[in-house]
């Protein structure tokens, strides 16, 4: 029972991070109809930049903030330079371009920071508190707290404000929002920058837990995509729930089956959902995935 409780606790902490990734994934999808395969790679850029800023002697909070901003800035540049010129093409062209960006990020990070894993300090102490036989670390509390403080207001804003409505409208028909005086290009950019912030946050939160390596980006993309697909691509609350469910599945598998199967389960879930119920748990429209 203690093991079960402990698994749930680490699943909740991991789930918070996966949810950050998945919500970013879904946010970009619901605005641009684009599956951003570089999402996880943008996420690991943040801790790499934080690592270097720490080396330069900056304080932890500043380094973390710098890393997140760097991820957002990268997403900004990626949208303007890589994706904006491809907007008139068939949707598969920009999607392939995101794969290319992911490969470039992986190569450049191993060139700059080396392919050996780096270790980053946690935001808060990893010294556990013991509560009736279970141990919870302050860092886990911080992870869940940050996710809640960022994702919940964001979901509320997207669901209720005119900007949120315009972002959703963009995915449906960019010309319609144009006729309301809204620039779709700006909404795409906004979704990418917000996605970059979410990804960067997830990156700096997960790096101290898993270590930092250039291939980590693909891993995060896979988990984030599985979570987003499970929740229904384009549904932000779905992505939030999907993140926690995937973390629970991965952690349960690692504890009760074998540590090596964790990521495999994520792939399996993604494949099953895409095969059996493309809409996921809460999604409704997923045409782009069918097309890819």
């Amino acid at each position: 029972m203690a093991i079960f409780g402990q698994t749930i606790i680490s699943a909740v902490a991991a789930g918070a991070i996966y949810a950050l990734i998945a919500v970013g994934f879904s946010l970009i999808y619901q605005t641009t109809k684009l599956v951003n395969f570089a999402h996880g790679s943008i996420a690991i850029l943040a801790p790499y930049v934080s690592y270097s800023l720490l080396k330069l002697g900056l304080a932890m909070p500043v380094a973390v903030l710098g890393g997140v901003l760097a991820a957002a800035a990268f997403a900004f540049v990626m949208d303007r330079v890589v994706l904006a010129p491809l907007r008139t093409r068939h949707i598969s062209v920009p999607i392939l371009a995101t794969v290319a960006v992911a490969i470039v990020i992986e190569a450049v990070t191993s060139l700059v920071w080396g392919s050996q894993p780096l270790y980053l300090e946690s935001l808060a102490s990893d010294e556990p508190w013991r509560i009736s036989g279970l141990s919870i670390t302050p860092n886990q509390v911080v992870i869940v707290g940050i996710t809640g403080a960022v994702v919940l207001p964001l979901l509320w804003i997207i669901a209720t404000t005119k900007v949120g409505r315009a972002m959703r409208g963009c995915a449906q028909d960019p010309e319609v929002v144009t006729l309301f005086g809204v620039s779709p290009a700006r909404m795409y950019l906004l979704s990418f920058v917000l996605g970059g912030v979410l990804a960067g946050l997830a990156g700096v939160l997960i790096a101290p837990v898993t270590g930092l390596k250039p291939t980590g980006g693909l891993e995060l993309s896979t988990i984030g995509f599985s979570a987003a697909v499970l929740g229904g691509l384009g549904s932000l609350p779905g992505a939030l729930v999907g993140g926690f469910l995937i973390a629970l599945l991965i952690n349960m598998t690692q504890v009760y089956l074998s540590a090596g199967y964790g990521l495999g389960v994520a792939y399996l879930v993604m494949a099953l959902v895409l095969l059996v119920r493309v809409r996921g748990l809460f999604g409704d429209d997923i045409e782009a995935v069918r097309q890819v």
Partner: protein, 266 residues
């Protein structure tokens, strides 16, 4: 009001519009007619910024060309499409509420720091949405329906309501009456005349000659990408070259027996 001077549009090698100049007077309903393929919709697309063109387009003296499509909306331009832009799983309310962007309410600082004012603005806007529907003879119950489930005649009306949400000074309509029944056409006619009284200028592409003669103050006839005639509808429809151009599209009808709708206007 709207001045189009020496407008040219080319698609690859095709010269779709040649030296088209049109002047629309404030407070008038200006008809744009011509056979299929004469460039009417292309002209509308050039005005609203969806196709590239050379020449000048000014609205109230301010240059439109060179501006991105979404910026032209801010200059007072609203338009509809022949096939209404209606994303299937959006509700009518969602669609109309996109109009909030143009009226400069619900700024983020209002939402964040003066929620009571934001609530009031939302309430006023919801009323505007309802009123936009009822003034076009539609039931406000439609607001919560998804666009994919709505009949085509109603969709045309909703598209017009959508265009009016941005409070345009020039309303551009692309074949609004196609797919509408006589009653709907009558409702639209009344509404357009009311809007004209309240100072709105309308540019309307229309096939139905009856509607054109009834409501248009002036018409421009396009043919083969150029302007064939311009003037008050009754005069224009009596010109032999206009009748020829119009009959050209109705295959199988001999030039000696003009279509009934055209006959009535004489």
């Amino acid at each position: 009001m709207l001045e189009i001077t020496r407008l040219n549009v080319r698609f690859g090698g095709a010269h779709v519009l040649r030296d088209v100049s049109v002047a629309v007077t404030r407070g008038q309903i200006h008809g744009l007619i011509g056979p299929n393929g004469s460039g009417k919709t292309t002209l509308l697309n050039a005005i609203s910024g969806f196709v590239d063109c050379t020449g000048t387009i000014t609205l109230d003296g301010r240059r439109l060309n060179g501006l991105a499509a979404h910026r032209r909306v801010g200059k007072g331009l609203g338009r509809t499409f022949q096939n209404p832009k209606a994303p299937d799983d959006m509700t009518v309310a969602d669609l109309l509420r996109l109009g909030e962007h143009q009226i400069r309410t619900l700024q983020w600082h209002t939402v964040a720091f003066r929620p009571w004012k934001a609530a009031h603005q939302r309430h006023m806007f919801a009323q505007r949405c309802e009123q936009a529907l009822t003034s076009l003879g539609l039931s406000p119950d439609l607001l919560e329906r998804e666009l994919g489930t709505i009949a085509s005649g109603d969709l045309k009306m909703i598209d017009i309501a959508r265009a009016l949400m941005v409070r345009p000074r020039l309303l551009v309509l692309d074949e609004p009456t196609s797919g509408m029944n006589d009653h709907e056409i009558e409702v639209l006619r009344t509404r357009l005349e009311w809007l004209r009284e309240s100072g709105l200028t309308v540019l309307i592409v229309e096939h139905n000659v009856r509607v054109v003669t009834d409501i248009c103050d002036r018409i421009t006839v396009l043919s083969g990408g150029g302007i064939l005639a311009e003037g008050p509808p009754r005069e224009v429809f009596q010109r032999p070259d206009v009748i020829d151009a119009y009959l050209g599209e109705d295959e199988g009808r001999s030039p000696e027996s003009p279509p009934a709708s055209l006959e009535k206007t004489r």
